[in-house]
Amino acid sequence: MSPTATAELVVDINNVVAGYLPGVNILNGCSLQARRGELIGIIGPNGAGKSTLLKSIFGQVNVRSGTITLDGEDITSLRANQLVALGVGMVPQTNNVFASLTIEENLQMGLFQRPSAYAERLEFVTSIFGELGKRLKQRAGSLSGGERQMVAMSRALMMDPKVLLLDEPSAGLSPVRQDEAFIRVSEINKAGVTCIMVEQNARRCLQICDRGYVLDQGRDAYTGTGRELLNDPKVTELYLGTLGV
């Protein structure tokens, strides 16, 4: 059992129904709990509602029923800017940096609600992403996909979030860069940030997470520790793929 298994609940998602088009629900009564300091992985087939779940936490999708709480406080359908102020950070999958701005300006954008804390937060962020500190004046548009992902994560960390939501941090990265992205997520989590990560690279995701949720058709189909899910033959067959290495 991980040391975080008995910590208090930070995020509690209860029977959430949500969708984009009228009458079409993508989430059909989905529930998820994240305890303080946990790294939660969400995997599942295409169209299962993984990204929609993150968006519904972050106020980007209309929640039709059910509740989402942060530290016991109802945050269902709050707007993204309100959520950022309450301590929720989000790293989107694509278009996640301001390409025409420098790395430094990107980081400042992450902190526009609390600019006085810049020096202190920069120190924290560069303790995890050391190489960014040396390239603050470089334009984000000139960075590779892997480096952009690091900038996006750093920007979300600038507001000192309690909870960080990550939408497929390894998407489009080369194998070694994918591993680096997972290592950084693990480091962010070890620094005390509760992380909820959606991933297509299910095996890598389950390797580093404390607990995993398998979403299928808008519901949480399986839940367990990352290790339990990795060793579950049914999860392996249905969600991890059985291609030989």
Binding site: G47, Q93, S174, R177, I183, E237
Partner: protein
Amino acid sequence: MSSDITPPVERPKTTGLHVGEAAPGVAKTDPIIVVDGVRRTFGGLTAVNVDHLEIPRGAITALIGPNGAGKTTLFNLLTGFDRPDAGSWTFDGKSISGMPAFKVARLGQVRTFQLTKALGLLTVLENMKLGAKHQIGERFWQSLFPFFWRRQELEIEDRAVGILKKFKLDAKSEDFAASLSGGQRKLLEMARALMSEPQLVMLDEPMAGVNPALTQSLLEHILDLKDEGMTVLFVEHDMHMVRHIADWVIVMAEGRVVAEGDPITVMRNPAVIDAYLGAHQELDLGVVTGRYEAEDADPTTDALASDTVEVSDIEEEASEESK
């Protein structure tokens, strides 16, 4: 929930594709694309600098390499979505350098995109129908009289439904493409490409964003394309996929072709491991990062190696790749 996944049937790889020793730019016995001296720069950065490259016909070729190696830029050039600073290339023996994208597609060379380009406010079926070539209803006068195009329209629709079924998107055929998830859009884009009955299908990261379980059936579809006589060229970071289906692998780094060969040989090439794959693919990252003990390691990984490798080793490799 019952599984409808059947284990993939091993299909024979196509061999004997090249003439002489497998090296960058090696001649192919029957090339469908021949590239000569293609260069593309963006300001001071040389994105593509390929002296000579041949893509074998009737086979599945993977184009791999680190982020920023020039793979997508080469795709853009070959398909007419970008123009080179220098160089020429042929498709099926015909020079198509500088030809605009729509003409390239009409010749039978279609592509998909890394970030999908589905038309969100059309339905899935309408997106599919757009992919068909030589539609009578696209001509101005004929479009006014349904009897000219009705029959062809029905044929196209039948074909679209058939392909959607194969990709398990038939239940979504009346939904707006905008309502599909990222992975489903990826499938739609590949399905739409097939509507033009191409000779060469170029797929830019077909598996990115597609669930691993669905990956298997998608791989089968790609293998089917080869069985139906098409040539496939794809960019991919998923090495399981490359190993499983590619007959030939081309490795790019810093705009150049640095290695070519069959998947097994290429993936054992130390230069490729250094430049791209990294030496740590069979590790359990949970163990490497100290979150779990080696005895709890993922059974598909090398527990002992996971326990001895340091996080800094992987970070070093990643920063080497960026240089």
